[in-house]
Amino acid sequence: MTGLVRRIGLGALAIVLLGVIWELYKAVGPAEGVDVAGLQLLPRTTDLAMPHIWDMIARALEPVNSSEGSPPVWTSVLLAGLSSLGTASVGLLIGSIVGFGLALLMQRFRVAESAVLPWLVLSQTVPLIALAPLIVSWGGRVQFGTFEWERWMSVAVIAAYLAFFPVAVGALRGLQSPDEINVELFHAYGSGWWATLRYLRLPASVPYLLPALRLGAASAIIGTVVAEVSTGAKGGIGRLIIEYAQSGSSDPAKAYSPIAVAVIMGLAAAGIVALAGATLKRYRRNEVTV
């Protein structure tokens, strides 16, 4: 337990340290920044480029704009963050199912591994920005009965597209991780593929799967934010990042609230995966980083 307290303390200390460095540079750095031979090396330290941390916090507590009944910035970004987190979770769920399914297929059939794996790698080289409008337009044509494709679903699909890759690669490595001796032991017991999967490959894959899910969760968050920006989906944090950044010249401190929330979302996603991992403790004998 003291280990946990220590880790949380160190984490908090790191955040404080980051703030101190920010303010320290702002205090001592030259207003026009540092440039060498016309190349900007260090940023400007004006209030416009680097607002004070207390200004960012104060701005977060003020209303979004001057119109009547405007909610404070922090509630508006937090709500948007929750909505994006929901979308990202759906994306991660879909991505994990697809990724794990592909890993199973590749483990079962060697041919599938040689056939599918290069495509998986290739799929991640397609720029998200190029993909987003395509998925939105395909989604617009999906319609069964009363079901109607909504913009957030396109965002979730794009998030899943980013999230499935680490899961597929990590799960494949995990499923292939049992030693030859153990595979032969199950073979000698006359176990079929299913029993070997359930009692040997799945438990053995956990130390690989958890880091993969953590990566997948981070990818899903990034995918959601980028997709919200590029599809113009309303209500999410991506939208607010753009909106608030546009008022940067007159209201520089405002833009940092949605960024902070995006960071919190990432931490929350990693935390959820860590919680899931805590229940699988006995399978995590030697966790690997992928």
Binding site: L185, Y189, R285
Partner: protein, 173 residues
């Protein structure tokens, strides 16, 4: 039973293919008969094919030519029918299972009811002299045991599945 044939190996050749050349001949025209109840040791320098022969009998590998029968059936069928048990050279215990759960594994794989499994595990642990430690082993992982205990934790596995299929246990190693 003593006159029954347990393992029959006839004219078995095993050639391991290599990238260049004709391949490595591990076994050439090997024939061997082991009667039920007989105790046989295979002795030879390392690399002479002892393990290869045992792997063929256990159906972990297939001969290039020749035939292997175990209890009168092809090796493949005998493995699927679980007519015998194998004690592997290294323990090969699953680290996420307790020692008891490791012993239980083959019974679980053969869908033996939980109550029967527990009774059989207790019986086997006393058989190999681990029951004094049972209280510890119930929760402890194989990694926490000495290597000797680890091997003993492994060895009851073979009889545990054999006696279930009520055949005479014949360790191939």
């Amino acid at each position: 039973m003593s006159h029954a044939i347990a393992v029959q190996v006839s004219h078995v050749t095993k050639i391991f293919p290599v990238k260049k050349g004709d391949g490595v001949t591990a076994l050439a025209e090997v024939s061997l008969t082991v009667n039920a109840g007989e105790f046989v040791s295979l002795i030879g320098p390392s690399g002479c094919g002892k393990s290869t022969l045992l792997r063929l009998i256990a159906d972990l590998d297939q001969p290039t030519s020749g035939a292997v029968t175990v209890f009168g059936k092809p090796a493949h069928q005998a493995r699927l029918d679980q007519d015998y048990g194998i004690a592997f050279q290294s323990a090969g215990l699953l680290p996420w299972r307790t020692v008891e759960a490791n012993i239980e594994l083959p019974l679980q794989l053969h869908r033996v009811p939980a109550a029967t499994r527990r009774a059989r595990v207790a019986e086997l642990m006393s058989l190999v002299g681990l029951s004094d430690f049972a209280a510890n082993f119930r929760t402890s992982s194989p990694a926490a045991c000495s290597s000797g205990s680890r091997l003993r934790g492994r060895s009851p596995r073979a009889p545990s599945c054999c006696s279930w299929t009520s055949r005479s246990a014949r360790s191939t190693r």
